[in-house]
């Protein structure tokens, strides 16, 4: 069983989903394309970690709603208790930042400005998501046994990451300007 499989189980523990929904939801912590997700769901179903019901729709394509089984849940439970392996971060921007002196100041500034803008949009979205959760579930979000807790702390983390990257970008931009003007 690979990590993507556990990511799917983790999502399904909160609520039953279609493969299509999972593809979108997963993006927050494990980006994967549908071409990887659909076959894996089939495999998880064969191994009885999940089940699905076929739902016919009119106007839209039919869908399969997947749910986690007890077997799947206990597998996930065991996996969670093990120490996680080191994160993999592959960010082109860091490579470009590392060699930023190879470009002119204008290009460098543009790259960092673009990055800030991308994150500002995400922050806006993230904040409304967190607001929604708080309005809908109130104090529950901050209670560790609540079904909403995991989602809440993850979103807070994502928000923090985006805010901090902006701070760093601004710091770098200040250094870029200092040298080009002074």
């Amino acid at each position: 069983m690979n990590t993507l499989g556990y990511a799917l189980l983790g999502m399904l523990v909160r609520k039953p989903c279609t493969g299509y929904e999972l593809t979108q939801l997963l993006e927050v912590f494990w980006q994967a394309k549908h071409s990887q997700i659909y076959p894996l769901l089939t495999k998880l179903e064969q191994e009885e970690y999940v089940t699905f019901v076929h739902v016919e729709q009119t106007g839209k394509p039919d869908k399969k709603i997947y749910s986690i089984t007890d077997k799947g849940k206990s597998l996930l439970q065991q996996w969670i208790a093990n120490s996680p392996s080191a994160p993999v971060i592959r960010d082109e921007f860091l490579i470009k930042a590392y060699s930023i002196r190879l470009t002119d100041v204008a290009t460098a500034k543009r790259l960092f400005e673009e990055r800030i803008q991308i994150h500002e949009k995400k922050i806006e979205y993230r904040k409304t998501e967190i607001e929604k959760m708080k309005q809908e579930f109130g104090d529950e979000t901050e209670i560790a046994t609540s079904i909403h807790f995991g989602r809440y702390i993850l979103f807070q983390r994502k928000l923090q990451l985006e805010e901090e990257e902006i701070k760093w970008c601004r710091w770098v931009m200040a250094l870029l300007l200092k040298n080009s003007v002074g």
Copy 2:
């Protein structure tokens, strides 16, 4: 040409390296195993983006010291100016955090404590690295045109990332404790 290739060129712009060194240096922004790096260096050499000199050693295995060519440098320069694609972050810990309520409080606490410890070690290392740079190169580190600038801003970013993750872990742990004690 794939991103790993540009990562290698980015490293070689600063100074000539062996494949062995690159494997270690790369870890800071693009983790890759030597089995991926050696064949790619051969390919880069065939396409004349890098050259190497064979250096015989006694007591140690012989080595190949790779340098970037003008062709490689201009390729990298062009690539840097393009908007980077979205970062890929795959972190098992986030999946586990998302479903943390499936474990008991003790296990949850242990996972977050372990994470804090891992980062504390990295922070220590990161800080000494930054200190070294500052002592060796002084103000140069903060000058955008300096050869040390990219490395400096990258290390600062890494330090920030680690410090912020610890903050988040502590925040989550406080929530875990509040619920289990109160």
